[in-house]
Every structure is written in C-alpha cells, then in structure tokens.
Symmetry: C2
Subunit: 258 residues, 2 copies
DNA sequence: AAGTGGTCTAGACCACATC
DNA sequence: ATGTGGTCTAGACCACTTG
C-alpha cells in the first residue's frame, strides 16, 4: 500500500506525490464551484474515503491548500472555502495619523464612469484594446484629511450592477455611490458575487499630476508612492485593476527575510 | 500513549503541543551552539529516540524549524543548521539596468571608520549612547554606474577584525577593503564568525543630501528610497544596522496577498 | 550497500464547537 | 452526545546521496 497503486478517485500524476495530486484535484473541485466561497467542504473522513486515501494523506493535501490561501480550517467546525482576503487595504503601506483608535478611514467616490480602458488596465483585465470598463475614482480620508487617491477599473461583464444607469439622473440614483461602504471587496461579493481571493501589489514611485494633487491637497509634482494592484478570483481571473497614490513621505513598509 | 505522559527528554509545556515544545527545545540546542551553522543535526531516528517521541512528532517539530528558517533539510543528506540568508541584497528593491546577464553588481568601500554611533544605530545594536562602532560607507555599481549608497554600522566586539588598524598606513593595509567581496554576509561569517540568520528591511522615501547625491551622481534633493535593515544572528542579537539609499524612480517591489 | 529524509497507512485519543 | 479538526503513535516502503 504505497505511492504506486491508485485505489480510487485519484488520477495517477507521474512525479507528483499522492497528497499533491490530491490537493490539485480538490482545488479543481473548488474552482469548478462544487463548494462555494464561505461554505464547508465534507469532513476529513468523508473526503479521504471518497478519494481512497488515508486520513493523513488527505490532511496533508488540505494543509497545502491552506498554505495557498484557498481554504481555511476551523477546529471543531469544519473546512471552508475562503470567502475573500482580509486586511488587504493599501492603507497598510502608509503611516497616517490614526485618528481615534480603531476608527476606519472614510471613503468618498469622486466619479463613476464607463469609458475605454487604457492599455495597462485592458491588458490586466483581459479586455480587447479600446473596450470599455467601469472606472471609479475614490478618495480615502482619515479625520477628514484626504490621504489616498484610487483609480479602480472593473470589467463590465462582472460589475454591471455597479455601473451608472443612463436613464436615471445621478442625484436620484438609488445606487448612489456615496452610500457604498468603505470596504469594497465584501461589497463586490454581496452585490456582484465576485470574491477576491488573491491580490498582487506592485509598489513604485512617481510624482502627482495637477488634478491628482488637487484631490489630495498637495502640490503638483509632489512625490508619491504608487501601488498598482491586480486582484483575482478563485479561478485566477483578474477582476479588479487598481492604482493607489499617496504622499511618498507617509509611505513605509517592512519586509522580513529568513 | 498520548500527549499526557512525558516519556523522556521533553519538559512538559502546558498548553503547548508536544511537537511545538520539542521544536522549542531543539531551537535552544541550536542557539546554544550544540550544532554550528552549516553542520548537520543527528538523524531523525536518533533525535526521536533521544527525546522519547515518535518519528512523526519529531518530523513535525523539524518542519516548524524549517518554516522559521532555522534549519534546512536535504533529501538523502541530512538536516542542517542554516548558515545564513541568501538573496537578501537590497538591490532586489530596485530596477537598474542588469548589465550583462548574471553579472554581479560591483562594490566599492568608500570609507571605513570607527566613530560614535548615532542614536538609531546604537539603539539597534544595543550599544550605550555615545559608544563607538565600525562604520562602512559603500557604493554599489552596475556597469560602472553608481546605483546604491550604503551606510553600515557594525559592533566592534564582533567585528574588530574588520576595523582599520591604527599602526598601518591605509595604502599598505593587508586588509585593504577594496579587496573585500561584493557579498558581505559570507565575508562576515568567514572573517568574524558572524552568521546573519534574519533581516528586517524597513522601506521609506526621502531626499538625498548633497554628499549622498554626489556619490550617486544625482542632484541634491533628489527623491530616494531608503531601506533600513536590522540583521540578526541565531540568538536574535542585532549584528548589523544598515541604511541603503537609491534613486526613488528605480524603486519597485511586489507583495502578494492571499 | 548503507544512511538520510519523504511518503503513506491505520488506528487511537484529545480538544473544540454545536445542539 | 455528536461531529469536527488536531495530535500522537508505530511501522512499512520509497527516493535521494554517498562511498
């Protein structure tokens, strides 16, 4: 009873340990939607029996998926598909006055427009050149002070529910973006069924254009940190492309090497 | 035969799984110098017997220490105390012309002085206020172009072997720093027996002073990225404090969230 | 051939969460 | 009381490295 035979349920992957092959198989089942984000997988015993492996092997596979951020396990409750990333705010890259302890930064949508995506955004989102997308401009404030300016690009096939409706005047819009919550990812999930599961932040440096500087209350040409984010869902599709700018002097980040 | 009894070798740690307590015990043995960096630990079977646990439990403990970067395991060879971090160059934060493929950046020591450490350095290195330390100023170049300027502070009790000797003229110094290798950490290990095992890099932005700008071939007041590093050894002692500056426009870094 | 770490199994018992 | 994941054990066999 070794890695050679293949009792049931696991296709033989050459050069791959059984637990690794099993993890890949389980990942497939998650991506295909067999278990939705937030819901529980079957118990260890059931999954092990279903795939014809020992409990230890099944647990090893699940540990891999936990490391990869696909699932999370809660002692006594079960194993769940992760419903989204947390603590991902780009504010973590900046040191601003914290205001009152535990106070969330405010959020103000400056604009909501459907327009042709620039090359960068189109490439990231997998759009054809010149194709339109939904763009949000958003300001984040702490104690009423503007600190971050965001440009957010969203593909219309997923986020049509958030697009402005042409027949309704902005002022009477039931979907008025000034009512949107400060945390967008849970909002994406509840409104559009889009679950952000992974994000890659690229950090660079630049200077503010005149309009950007106006929004942030700084001078044109002021140095800024530029955080470019690609956010992807379970299947690996990029569902959001975002550029965040903030005062370079407030930027700070810590990396540990071992 | 459960987590309750304590057969031998492992002190009972309340609220701690046996494998976790075992990992802590093994870490102690490493830190105390029982096995030196680069050398091998006893085989699994021997360690398990010595601590009176099953093989699986011992392996679980070793996995923990691998995650923590203390040891590394090589299939078929053994388990080794890590001799130092690799790929830790602060150059990884910058996008400079790579020069010829695979070419290492050059390194030029600009100065080597023993002088009173500033407050930041003294605090990091655990020195008394006003105590002296060894300071290196170092320039890193790619294709002959200066790109990074480093200020490195080292405690004299560990790095006396690198300090300038007062009786010898600099030109005739056998330890002439222009012969030092580009990679300092292996040099620390071979010359001073200091093994850097962990490093924390803090990233921020600033502007160059006139002298700094001269070294880098930029204008005074030019924006720069500032990387402040605390490097520590096995026992957690800070053995190097370093500040690196480079053109902010060449800075880039990528962070993945899950 | 001998020694090392890596994988897999089968079963027992513990700890947490829920009803 | 029941179901869930977490820990621990004991033993077998596989894969890599070295002499």
């Amino acid at each position: 009873m070794q890695q050679t035979s293949d009792p049931a349920g696991v296709v033989d992957h050459p050069g791959l340990a059984r637990y690794a092959a099993l993890a890949a198989a389980l990942r497939q089942r998650v991506v295909r939607g067999e278990w939705l984000p937030g819901s529980a997988l079957p118990a260890e015993q059931a999954l092990a029996a279903e795939h014809g492996v020992a409990l230890g092997t099944l647990r090893r596979a699940l540990e891999l998926l936990v490391e990869q951020g696909l699932i999370e396990r809660i002692h006594g409750k079960g194993t769940f598909v992760r419903s989204g990333i947390a603590g991902a705010s780009t504010l973590r890259f900046f040191r601003f006055g914290e205001g009152v302890a535990g106070q969330l930064p405010a959020s103000r949508i400056l604009s909501r427009t459907v327009l042709a995506a620039p090359a960068d955004a189109a490439r990231a989102l997998g759009l054809a050149p010149g194709e339109t997308a939904l763009r949000l401009q958003r300001l984040r404030l702490i104690d009423g002070e503007p600190c971050l300016l965001e440009h957010i690009w969203l593909p219309l096939d997923l986020f049509d529910a958030l697009a402005p409706r042409e027949d309704a005047p902005a002022a009477a819009d039931a979907d008025a973006p000034h009512d949107w919550p400060a945390l967008l990812y849970p909002f994406y999930a509840s409104r559009c069924g889009v679950h952000v599961q992974r994000a890659v932040d690229d950090i660079g440096f630049g200077v503010l254009t005149a309009p950007q500087a106006r929004s942030l209350g700084l001078a044109a040409g002021h140095p800024c940190a530029v955080v470019t984010r690609r956010a992807t869902d379970l299947a690996g599709r990029c569902v959001e492309w975002r550029v965040t700018r903030g005062d370079a002097h407030a930027f700070h980040y810590s990396v540990t090497l071992t």
